[in-house]
């Protein structure tokens, strides 16, 4: 296990790259999801005001 973490002396480089990649991938997917949620709320509010003004 220690050998695996040590990565023949390159551990800090290898692990930081993988952690950074996963952090960015998770953040990117999460941010896209959050933005979509906000846009849906905005669109529904807009739709309600428009239908309200039509009637």
């Amino acid at each position: 296990m220690q050998d695996f973490l040590y990565m023949s002396g390159y551990g800090p480089y290898v692990w930081s790259c993988f952690l950074l990649t996963f952090a960015v991938l998770i953040y990117n997917a999460w941010q896209a999801r959050m933005t979509l949620g906000e846009e849906i709320v905005k669109a529904q509010r807009r739709a309600r005001t428009q239908t309200g003004s039509d009637t």
Binding site: V14, A32, T51
Partner: protein, 245 residues
């Protein structure tokens, strides 16, 4: 064929289709990235020259490939939008930019971390590295240009031209290691002859690449839906959308 194309380009239909497709891209992407990570970190043998440091390439290479692929996709979307005045194509291009920019950031960051033990430096003004940095500036420039217009149509047109002109940088990034005597290593898997990488090291890389492509498709589904909503002013179908979808 044209009917299908026309149907897909209608905002409500595209919105629903992207929502339906997303889980089919997302979960296989998670699975493939997990398998690729396990294969790359545990199963692949150590490189005889680069030792375990070569494992960084399992995240660096897919990020780099995607940074270029996403740019080409963005430029194609922008060109279609510009030529055929198709709003959905502009929405696609606009949705590509932040995803591509993040892949470019990852490429530069992981490349830099790889460069320190391999080349003895975090950064070098080498053709491959410099052209990849220009790619990041193109993405950022594209997003900044879009943000500077209040009118979506003008933003679409102006940013599309930047995206199309910037595509000239893509072959420069791709072939920089062949054209110039670069510090960066040459291609290993995209050579027309047999790839100069052993199968036991190659398969996790290919799995990871496929995982990244599906991940891009999944995030794209969410981003293009946001873009469609931002542009859509017609209330009739907006009132029917479900917050859960």
């Amino acid at each position: 064929m044209w009917l299908w194309f026309h149907k897909l380009s209608s905002p409500p239909h595209a919105f629903r289709t992207a929502g339906r497709l997303r889980p089919w891209f997302f979960w296989p992407a998670v699975l493939l990235i997990a398998i690729g990570t396990f294969g790359g970190l545990v199963l692949a043998p150590e490189d005889y020259q680069q030792k375990d440091a070569f494992r960084i390439l399992y995240v660096h290479v897919p990020s780099a490939s995607l940074s270029l692929m996403v740019y080409v996709a963005m430029a194609v979307g922008a060109a279609i939008g510009l030529i055929w005045r198709m709003k959905l194509a502009h929405a696609f291009a606009a949705a590509c930019a932040p995803i591509g920019a993040w892949f470019t950031v990852l490429t530069l960051a992981t490349g830099s971390i790889y460069g320190k033990p391999m080349w003895g430096t975090w950064w070098e003004w080498d053709p491959r590295l410099t052209s990849e940095l220009i790619l990041l500036f193109l993405y950022l420039g594209y997003m900044a240009l879009r943000a500077s217009f209040d009118d979506t149509q003008r933003a679409d047109r102006a940013s599309a031209i930047l995206a199309i002109v910037g595509v000239v940088n893509v072959p420069i990034v791709k072939y920089s290691v062949v054209w110039w005597n670069s510090l960066h290593q040459g291609p290993s898997i995209s050579k027309l002859s047999a790839p100069s990488i052993h199968g036991s090291m190659l398969w996790p890389l290919l799995v990871m690449m496929l995982g990244f492509v599906l991940y891009f498709a999944a995030v794209m589904c969410d981003r293009i839906r946001s873009e469609i909503l931002r542009r859509e002013r017609n209330a009739s179908w907006l009132s029917e959308i479900d917050a859960e979808t």
